[in-house]
Structure formats: structure tokens, C-alpha cells
């Protein structure tokens, strides 16, 4: 009897990776609009950005050039003596493709002036020094060129705290800070970034052979799904584990997000008066 009943299954729940797909036309429009608007509100029309040869700074460069006009975006290359040659080559590909003005300010001399004062300095300390020197160079160029310092951080690294506080995080605006790395890759393809930039392994290039995924101990493809569930969809850690992700991995990711929250907020001000900056003196950044 039951054999005559037709059973029609509903749609299966969409795989998590599929839920990270973005409409790149909409993203491009909103982000170029954001850049033009945010810089225009300050009375400026130009931007300065550090171009590493990697994916994220290349995306920021493409969006900035589209938003502001190529002549209004200054790309600054800031190699250290251990930086890979291919990083410079890829940065040059971006500069050439966009036709934006560029400048090279090597940081080896200034970095070594500090690094050399200590006998043993860990790669992390050295990397942080490099990131902060690059910030210093960019803010100097910001005045010289008359443009705001463009951020290049994506949502994945902001959440994981995979950045140097007051280094690469020291910027005036963050156009791609709400795109996970895997979403940034989609945008990069839509923007037509050079293939060598899009397809190489992400790296902070602070020392030879360094890769993000090697250092972090997991892939962006995996961690983006976990972060998407935890942050965007507000899954609990237990619910993410129940989706089939390794428990230790999920816990490690959430611990990193929590541990690095200080990098995403302004330093706390001890409240004494009735009205205190950061507590109850409330105006948008766009106020001025």
C-alpha cells in the first residue's frame, strides 16, 4: 500500500561553505561607495595604502582606485630584507594594472636599528616591529600625499586577532573588515586581480617561508565556516561542534576571538566624571 505514496523530500540544509557566497556586485558597490564617502567626509579625496603583494591589500587598492580614481591612491611598498621577491613582483603587477602612483620605502634599516639592540628577538617581536614601522611610514605619507591610511584587514584576521595592534590595525578605515577571507577571494576574482595574487598562499611575509595557514594551524576555508556560525549565525560552541567540526579546533578558535578582543576596541578609560569619553560621550566617528 505505502509503495503508492509519493514522498518528495524538501530542500536539504545548505552546506555552510555555500552560505559564505556573496553577491560581489553588491559588495563592490557598497564598499567603493563607503570609501568615497568616508574619505569625502573628512574633506579629503585621496588614500595611502601599504601594498604587500598579497590578496587583501590588492583588493583594497582595487576598491580604492575605483572609488577615488587611480591618481588619488598612493601604493607604498615597504619591503624588509627578508621579504620575498615575489611579493614585490606581485605588488608591481597591481600597481601596473591599476595605474596608481607608487613609492618604495624599505624598512630594513629602521627595523634593524631597533632589532639589533637586543641579542635574542623572537620572530614575532620582529614581525610586530615591522608592522608598526610600516604604519609609521604610511601615516607619514598620509600627510605628505594628503590622503587617509586605507585599511586592508579582513573579518577573519580581525576576529582571530591575527594582526599587530597599532601596526596593520593602525588605519583610518577598513573597507573589507566585514568580509571573511573566503569571501574576499570571491571579491578578488570579481575585481579581476592578477592570478598570481589571487592564488598564492596567504602570508604576512614577516619571515621567509611564513604562511598564515601554517602559523595559525588551520585553513581559512575551515575557520571561516566556524567563525561564520559563531559570529554571524550566533551558534554556541557546542552547536558548531554538533555540526561536525573538531571540538578542540572550535574551542581554540573561539578562545582566540575572545583573547584578542582588545585589538578590536579602544583602550578603556577609567571613568571619574559624569560624562566620559568612551562611556557616555556618544557621537559617531562621522560626526565631525
Amino acid at each position: 500500500m505505502s509503495a503508492s505514496i509519493t514522498v518528495i523530500p524538501g530542500h536539504a540544509e545548505r552546506p555552510i561553505a555555500e552560505r559564505l557566497v556573496i553577491n560581489t556586485v553588491t559588495a563592490r558597490r557598497m564598499l567603493t561607495g563607503f570609501i568615497a564617502d568616508e574619505i569625502g567626509k573628512t574633506g579629503m579625496k585621496r588614500a595611502v595604502l601599504g601594498l604587500s603583494g598579497g590578496l587583501d591589500s590588492a583588493i583594497s587598492a582595487y576598491l580604492s582606485a575605483e572609488a577615488l580614481g587611480a591618481e588619488n591612491v598612493l601604493a607604498v611598498k615597504m619591503p624588509y630584507k627578508t621579504s620575498a621577491q615575489e611579493s614585490t613582483t606581485d605588488a608591481d603587477r597591481v600597481i601596473e594594472a591599476l595605474g596608481i602612483p607608487s613609492l618604495t620605502v624599505p624598512i630594513s634599516g629602521m627595523a634593524d636599528a631597533l632589532i639589533g639592540q637586543f641579542a635574542e628577538m623572537s620572530p614575532m617581536r620582529q614581525g610586530n616591529i615591522m608592522a608598526r614601522l610600516r604604519m609609521t611610514v604610511l601615516y607619514d605619507q598620509s600627510v605628505a600625499f594628503g590622503g587617509l591610511v586605507m585599511g586592508t584587514s579582513n573579518k577573519t584576521e580581525l576576529l582571530l586577532g591575527y594582526s599587530t595592534v597599532y601596526g596593520d590595525s593602525g588605519v583610518a578605515l577598513q573597507p573589507i573588515g566585514d568580509l571573511y577571507k573566503t569571501q574576499a577571494r570571491q571579491l578578488a576574482e570579481a575585481l579581476g586581480l592578477p592570478e598570481s595574487v589571487r592564488l598564492k598562499a596567504p602570508s604576512a611575509d614577516l619571515w621567509a617561508g611564513q604562511t598564515d595557514e601554517g602559523e595559525l594551524g588551520f585553513t581559512y576555508a575551515d575557520v571561516d565556516q566556524v567563525l561564520y556560525l559563531l559570529v554571524d549565525e550566533r551558534y554556541s560552541v557546542a552547536e558548531v561542534i554538533a555540526e561536525g567540526f573538531d571540538a578542540a579546533f572550535v574551542q581554540k578558535v573561539w578562545r582566540r576571538v575572545k583573547m584578542n578582543h582588545f585589538k578590536r576596541t579602544m583602550p578603556n578609560i577609567a571613568k571619574l566624571s559624569r560624562r566620559t569619553i568612551g562611556h557616555d560621550f556618544l557621537y559617531l566617528r562621522d560626526w565631525a
Binding site: V21, N23, M30, D37, E38, L282
Partner: protein, 286 residues
């Protein structure tokens, strides 16, 4: 009867009431030139949205002598105007309000009832909530006016419908959110879905005016629209850019749709009232 509309999908400047007034007057002049009889501005069109501690200095009293309200009243002698502002009462209380001006008079002021205070929203911190949802008569028939979160709740549109509104005017400052693989943002899809639902369920015109621009990284998606009494879009799909969108609507469509589909005739608000009373009484609410 026809209604020639202009939806002024503007980008207000945060906290700069004079600059925004000037923009209103420019859009009003343009709407008049385009033959519009009614021009609608978004929520808080005179102040911008995330006003925070700017509330007291950006607030106005809706009286002819006010230097910002007066010019709009004057402009309404030639074209009906709906606009959004922070309303201040004589005792330092503030509401998010929208006024309908016509013939140099204030026909109606709606005070926003539902103040979203969750996620990215913080309205309850700064504003007092309105307490009424009332329809009012205009030269285009009876109209209802709601602001943003008011129409995310089903009851205010229902109350206005019951009070005789055939044309719903919804204004908003709706931030863009929910980028996914779809052709529209999830937030936009939701608003458009409910607006079509209201048009269909109430066999009424639903006019929505949403702002554009950016405030601290938040984008506002625009997409101002008109839904007819059969639930179909009559104006739709203009996202992100500042513009005056115009649309001429045949209000006789109300009668034709309701002849075919007498949802209003058959609606039983007395049953609703009775059952609401029972449900609330039974649950122990007051």
C-alpha cells in the same frame, strides 16, 4: 483619482539640520516641477539617523515659528509633504516623528511607537516611544503613517487599516545588512516581502521611502517603493543612490481590487478585539 508621488530618497547630513532643510526645499521644488502632488522624505530626514548625543541640539518643535519647521509648512501650500524629524516637547522629551503637511497646515504627526534597541540599534536610549497609530484624512483619501520598526510589527498597520487608511506611508532609515549570494541584501528582501504582504493582505497602497548614504560604515539601501492593492510593485528596485523617484498611481484600483477580493469587507475587528481581550486577560496581562 490619481496620486502623483515623489519619493525623496535622500542622504541627510548627520546633525546638520540647516543643510538638510536646504536639501528638502530643493527636492520639494524638483518634485513640484515633476508634477508631484505629494513628496515623501525618509525617517529622520531632517537630522540623519544615528544622532546619539546630538538629539537635544537637532530636535525641533513642530510650530510655524520654528526656523526649520516653518519653511516646510510654507512649502506645503503647493505640494503635500511628509518628512522626518526629532520632535521635542515642552518638557524636554524627544520622539522620532514624521509630519504630514498640506496647504500650509500640519495634518498629522506620527510619533514612532517601536524603538529598536537591539543589535546595531539603540533608539530606546535616546527617545520616548509614541503611543498612537491613527489614520487621518488628506485630499487623497484616508492615510496612515508609520516609521520603520513600526511596520516590522504587524499591529500598527492593522490598526491603521481598521481606522480607515487606504494608503499606508512607511518611512525608514534602514541600514543595509545580510550580504549573501542573492540579488538583494537579506534586510531589503525582508522589508520588500512585508510591504508586499501588507499591500496584499490589506488590499491597500503601501508606499515606502527609505534613505541612502552612510553613517560610520553603515550603509542605507534606499530601494523606496510603491506596492499596489494587489500586492504587486508599482515602483521598485532603485537601490543605494540619492534620487527623487516619481510614480503616478490610480487610486481607483482600490475599488477594483476590493470588488474582486473583499478582505476588508469581511474583516471582523470586533472579533479581534474580543479575542485579544480574552487572550490578554487569560494570560494575566494588563
Amino acid at each position: 483619482m490619481h496620486l502623483s508621488l515623489g519619493l525623496a530618497q535622500i542622504y541627510p547630513k548627520l546633525g546638520d539640520v540647516q543643510a538638510n532643510l536646504d536639501k528638502h526645499l530643493a527636492f520639494i521644488a524638483q518634485a513640484k516641477a515633476a508634477g508631484c502632488e505629494l513628496v515623501i522624505f525618509p525617517e529622520l530626514s531632517l537630522t540623519g539617523y544615528q544622532v546619539q548625543d546630538l538629539v537635544p541640539e537637532a530636535a525641533i518643535e513642530p510650530v510655524a515659528g520654528n526656523p526649520y519647521y516653518g519653511p516646510l509648512l510654507e512649502a506645503s501650500r503647493e505640494i503635500d509633504i511628509v518628512f522626518g524629524f526629532i520632535q521635542q516637547d515642552e518638557r524636554e522629551r524627544f520622539t522620532i516623528s514624521s509630519a504630514y503637511l498640506s496647504g500650509g497646515q500640519t495634518l498629522h504627526i506620527h510619533r514612532k511607537i517601536y524603538l529598536p534597541t537591539y543589535g546595531m540599534f539603540d533608539e530606546g536610549r535616546y527617545f520616548d516611544a509614541g503611543e498612537t497609530a491613527r489614520a487621518f484624512d488628506t485630499r487623497f483619501g484616508r492615510v496612515g503613517l508609520l516609521i520603520c520598526e513600526d511596520f516590522w510589527h504587524i499591529s500598527p498597520p492593522y490598526l491603521l487599516w481598521t481606522d480607515g487608511a487606504d494608503v499606508m506611508i512607511f518611512t525608514s532609515a534602514s541600514p543595509s545588512r545580510g550580504l549573501d549570494g542573492s540579488d538583494r541584501l537579506a534586510g531589503s528582501r525582508w522589508v520588500e516581502l512585508v510591504n508586499q504582504a501588507y499591500g496584499s493582505l490589506f488590499t491597500s497602497f503601501v508606499i515606502h521611502c527609505n534613505r541612502v548614504g552612510y553613517e560610520d560604515g553603515k550603509n542605507f539601501w534606499g530601494g523606496s517603493s510603491v506596492v499596489g492593492p494587489d500586492g504587486e510593485f508599482l515602483l521598485h528596485g532603485h537601490y543605494f543612490d540619492e534620487a527623487l523617484l516619481t510614480s503616478t498611481n490610480d487610486l481607483n484600483e482600490l475599488h477594483r481590487t476590493r470588488s474582486r477580493l473583499p478582505l476588508l469587507r469581511d474583516e471582523n475587528p470586533h472579533m479581534v478585539l474580543r479575542e485579544l481581550g480574552r487572550a490578554l486577560g487569560k494570560e494575566g496581562h494588563s
